[in-house]
Subunit: 228 residues, 2 copies
Amino acid sequence: MDKRRKPNSTERRRDLCDAAIQLLADDGAKGVSHLKVDRKAGVPDGTTSFYFRTRSALLLAAAERLAELDLARLQSVADDSAGSGVGDSPSRLSQVVIQSGREPELTRTRARYELTMQAARDPQLAAALAHSTDAFTKLHREILVQLLPRGAELEPAVVEDLSNVTLTFINGLLLRFAHGDRIIDSAAQLDGILAAIARGMLRSPEKGRLTGVDPARPAGRNKVKKRG
Amino acid sequence: MDKRRKPNSTERRRDLCDAAIQLLADDGAKGVSHLKVDRKAGVPDGTTSFYFRTRSALLLAAAERLAELDLARLQSVADDSAGSGVGDSPSRLSQVVIQSGREPELTRTRARYELTMQAARDPQLAAALAHSTDAFTKLHREILVQLLPRGAELEPAVVEDLSNVTLTFINGLLLRFAHGDRIIDSAAQLDGILAAIARGMLRSPEKGRLTGVDPARPAGRNKVKKRG
């Protein structure tokens, strides 16, 4: 009963990529070598080199595997939202983000940042990651609209600005999660913050692009109350 | 006249650190080795090894140099603000952030992210970076208060939440800058966004902690207008 079927080529590649993702998360990009992936995956020395000739090919395959996992997760969220899930509280967007700060997703969040840093110098890697980034951006925009005050008719340019700002906030949040800094702990809290940002940006006095607003008041004199 | 004074030990260390920072920005952490720093700084092979025995010591020295440069920049901003600069428009906070997306600061922004990723696995490195991060957080909070609607009496807890949210947004922004993604291009735009976030969070109906608010409305039905 203990005799295990030998994994086929596709399964073997996937296992090696999962081992590489774990190494990226634990030890960073410098922690990934063919031999370390062999050891992590528990396969004979030389296996990873056989499947992925170069380090570059190995990192690319890891990025593609990560994108595949991300897309599967986002797709399941999108499918749920298409059914009775629209308008869920907390939103599925916030649930996805908060999950990204907890295991098992946190490993992928960490690996994604390592690969993103590498991708700044590797266009192929950047392209592999872009697919899931685009899917997340799309989900983000769809769900964001549901968090806005009801009945508002929204200019596309305003939604684009708001989407850019909240997405940048989420980028920062995921980066803090990757470093173990859990400044927000629940999807409901995150919904609250996203809705507050939306309120503030929609209330902007100007009609034009929100990011073009210049509301800095000269010589504001606010005081923070003393505690106690 | 062309005869150059031989740099002393302190200057030599500083030059090597600056070369390491440039390598971190250009090629990432894996691009930093003792020999590469020698070549980058134009010094004889072995010089960097003489000053910094281990790779870890070299990265730590680079992080300390980066923190020194950051603190000098933030200090000059704080000094200006203490004079006639308070309430400047655009704010000095936003000026600092926008500068971080342009050379020569962009090199440091990139290097800082590389070191931050390394610091997740190196407490000494994390401590070296924490000093300038704390200084930036302090500046951020001071200037943020000036961007808020005038005359408001602000609960410390509210300012803390707001500061956390806007700082997370700025983290995300700097990360996008580091990857060459300039979604915001002027300090005035950034002031506008920070002020909008502040407005939204201050308008929150609850009296309690803003990040604890749960305003997600079930089944919001907003539509984005069609373009055209």
